[in-house]
């Protein structure tokens, strides 16, 4: 067995990093949008889980992977809507409402799975579909790059493209302008006739949609089934990634990749007989280190943010 070095610089490792990053990236982009609008959505975990089930169920029912994806995203948006309704209309503390949603998701999905398939653990009895992988024509031939960047699940590409889309949304569209205005000074937005509530509704629904994509990837791309608690904390990791991302789409991209790498690294480390408990810690330790580094350069970062906001 080769040294850790060979493993990390193998194409397989790079490929794995992108795959591991995908669900986290989706969720942290969702979190980013909601936070920009001044409403924190920490129900990513539960939303992804529910969407993952919806995707499997609907794809099995419609016999179409795409149908499943749409279903997952719609369900994600619905949960965003639910959160928005309680937080914005009924004024339930948004953190609490989100935790409640996570709670409902963990139980509700098991129940849902049972009703749909008669199983409580895994949806393998459903003939659910998997989203296709995509070979990128020329890139595919190129030695190192090909194996790393080509032949990923379609949603992996969607995730990375979404970073740019979210950037454009937030900084190049009227809606983005409003979202940022609402998040920064709701009174000001209100005083020029922007409906704060409406804007935050939109933001939360969008964040739900991203969680939906993340969930769909988990159950229709990463693995080919839904199983209970399959999100296993990725929704929370994503919150960390968002917080580390300096509130900027590309920052979030970097921090998500940081996580992905740390996670893949942990798997690689298994080959060397380090106590497994410590291997499991790696991603979290890396995050905290990242957090410290970021915190120290926060100031300069903050100014960069301003520059870009000007653009």
């Amino acid at each position: 067995m080769g040294s850790l070095f060979d493993i990390i610089f193998s194409a397989n490792f790079g490929y794995a990093v992108l795959r591991v990053t995908t669900p986290i990236l989706f969720a942290s982009l969702g979190a980013l949008i909601s936070i920009k609008a001044g409403v924190v959505n920490i129900s990513m975990e539960g939303t992804m889980l529910t969407a993952a089930l919806a995707g499997v169920a609907i794809s099995a029912y419609t016999g179409s992977a795409f149908g499943g994806l749409v279903g997952a995203v719609v369900v994600g948006m619905l949960l965003g809507l639910l959160l928005a309704y309680f937080a914005l209309n009924l004024k339930t503390d948004i953190i609490l409402a989100a935790i409640a949603i996570n709670l409902m998701a963990s139980g509700g999905t098991v129940f849902g799975l049972f009703v749909i398939s008669g199983d409580r653990g895994i949806s393998s009895s459903l003939a659910s579909k998997v989203l296709p992988r995509i070979q990128i024509p020329i890139l595919h031939q190129i030695p190192v790059l090909g194996p790393v960047f080509s032949n990923h699940n379609v949603l992996t590409y969607v995730a990375f493209i979404s970073v740019a889309l979210v950037y454009i949304l937030l900084y190049k569209t009227p809606l983005g302008l409003r979202i940022r205005a609402v998040g920064e000074n709701a009174h000001a937005a209100d005083s020029v006739g922007i409906s704060v509530k409406k804007t935050q509704y939109i933001a939360l629904i969008m964040s739900g949609a991203f969680a939906g994509f993340g969930g769909a990837f988990m159950s229709m791309g990463y693995v080919s089934w839904f199983s209970t608690n399959m999100i296993a904390g990725r929704g929370f990791i994503a919150l960390a990634a968002e917080a580390l991302g300096m509130g900027r789409p590309f920052g979030v991209l970097l921090t998500s990749l940081l996580f992905g790498s740390a996670d893949a690294l942990a798997n690689a480390l298994q080959a060397f007989r380090i106590p497994s408990e410590f291997v499991q810690m790696v991603p979290y330790v890396v995050t905290i280190i990242g957090l410290v580094v970021y915190a120290q350069r926060k100031h300069s970062a903050a100014q960069k943010v301003r520059q870009e906001d000007r653009a």
Binding site: M1, G2, I7, S10, N12, A16, R19, V20, P23, V110, L113, F114, V115, I116, S117, G118, D119, R120, G121, I122, S124, S125, L126, A127, S128, M218, Y222, V223, S224, W225, S227, T228, N229, M230, A232, D263, A264, N267, A268, Q270, A271, R273, P275, S276, E277, V279, Q280
Partner: protein, 355 residues
């Protein structure tokens, strides 16, 4: 159509009490539909229902520890002939409660109560020699990786994918390693622990890491998370060995290609062992107050002998496995167990086969 959940009953007593019928209740400290352990136990009581016309009920206590003891109390107060429960987590509750209800009869599987703590003459414990079964799994893996089967490479490297670094799991590991080494001294084993029994994505990720490192056959012992290995196997076209239940069957109809790659599964036949127990109970020969370790002899553990096994594993290998099984049964081979092993001993074993 979904199988109806455990059928309702009045509180306090089971449905229409009939004198002669044997009343059996099964407590699961988890839920049905795990396609494995608990389902197997449930299947067991259903066989009991058919074979002995018993009246049975299964109660799912879910994975929330706080619910287990109260439920056991409640059930103990009702009138059942046999109360079946399982897993080590339940032992200490049973040790306490069984003494409160001397007239009840308890069967606990996959663990043993500590008979020294008091009068537990009404408890029968079933242990499974998972290490014996795993020995065969390890032997198979070693055979396959050294064979010229189409998907096996020439590296002598096999994989073990555990849920967590804990004794039960390691009991499988120890047997697996011994089995592999018995077949070929210089086989090395790539051991990974997922760190979860739920996260099948991470299970897949770890399995892929193993396969990419040259593993051509792996053994997963991680519940649902372990199923990720089957997905990985399909993705890189390598072999896998399932655990607890016949994992090939999990995908047999929904995804046959995947099932093809699951050469076999090391099964704990909870169902068999429960039926056996019920039979002896009726015959009055069940040794309450004792623990029995059931292994290959009692067909309580063993490799799943299904079409995939037949079709994909060469006849001679299967024959050799038969022999090994025999040798274990008549004691020519004794497989050591991780239960009772110190962490250091364990590490020595693991490091010895480290790739």
């Amino acid at each position: 159509a979904p199988a109806a959940p455990a059928e309702p009953a009045e509180p306090g007593a089971p449905a229409e009490p009939s004198e002669d019928a044997l009343k059996v209740v099964l407590l699961l400290n988890g839920t049905l539909g795990d396609r494995s352990f608990f389902d197997s136990a449930h299947a067991g009581v259903q066989m009991i229902e058919q074979q002995f016309g018993a009246e049975v009920r299964t109660i799912e206590m879910s994975y929330d520890q706080t619910r287990w003891e109260p439920t056991l109390w409640e059930v103990s107060e009702q009138d059942w002939d046999i109360i079946i429960l399982g897993t080590w987590q339940m032992t200490e509750y049973l040790e306490e409660i069984a003494q409160e209800f001397p007239d009840n009869r308890y069967i606990i599987f996959d663990t043993s109560v500590d008979y020294s703590v008091g009068d537990l003459s009404n408890v029968y414990s079933i242990l499974y020699k998972q290490n014996e079964g795993s020995f065969l799994a390890g032997a198979l893996a070693a055979k396959v990786t050294t064979s010229d089967m189409e998907l096996s490479n020439d590296r002598k490297l096999i994989g073990f994918l555990g849920g967590m670094d804990i004794p039960v799991i390691n009991d499988f590991l120890v047997g697996y390693i011994e089995g592999a080494l018995y077949v070929d001294e210089d086989v090395s084993v790539y051991v990974s622990y997922i760190g979860s029994f739920d996260d099948s994505a991470s299970g897949k990720e770890n399995a892929l890491a193993q396969y990419n490192a040259g593993v051509d056959i792996g053994f997963n012992v991680a519940g649902q998370a372990g199923l990720g290995q089957l997905d990985a196997a399909q993705e890189v076209n390598r072999y896998a060995i399932g655990v607890d239940s016949d994992q090939a069957m999990v995908f047999a109809e929904s995804d046959p290609d995947k099932a093809e790659l699951v050469l076999t599964s090391m099964m704990k036949r909870v169902d068999n062992s429960l039926v056996r127990a019920a039979e002896m109970h009726i015959a009055g020969t069940l040794p309450y107050g004792e623990a029995e370790a059931l292994g290959l002899v009692e067909e309580a553990v063993g490799l799943a002998n299904n079409d995939f096994f037949e079709r994909n594993v060469p006849a001679e290998i299967r024959a050799e496995l038969e022999e090994l099984a025999e040798m274990i049964i008549n004691g020519d081979i004794t497989v050591s167990s991780a239960i009772g092993m110190s962490t250091d001993e364990l590490n020595q074993i693991r490091d010895a086969v480290k790739p």
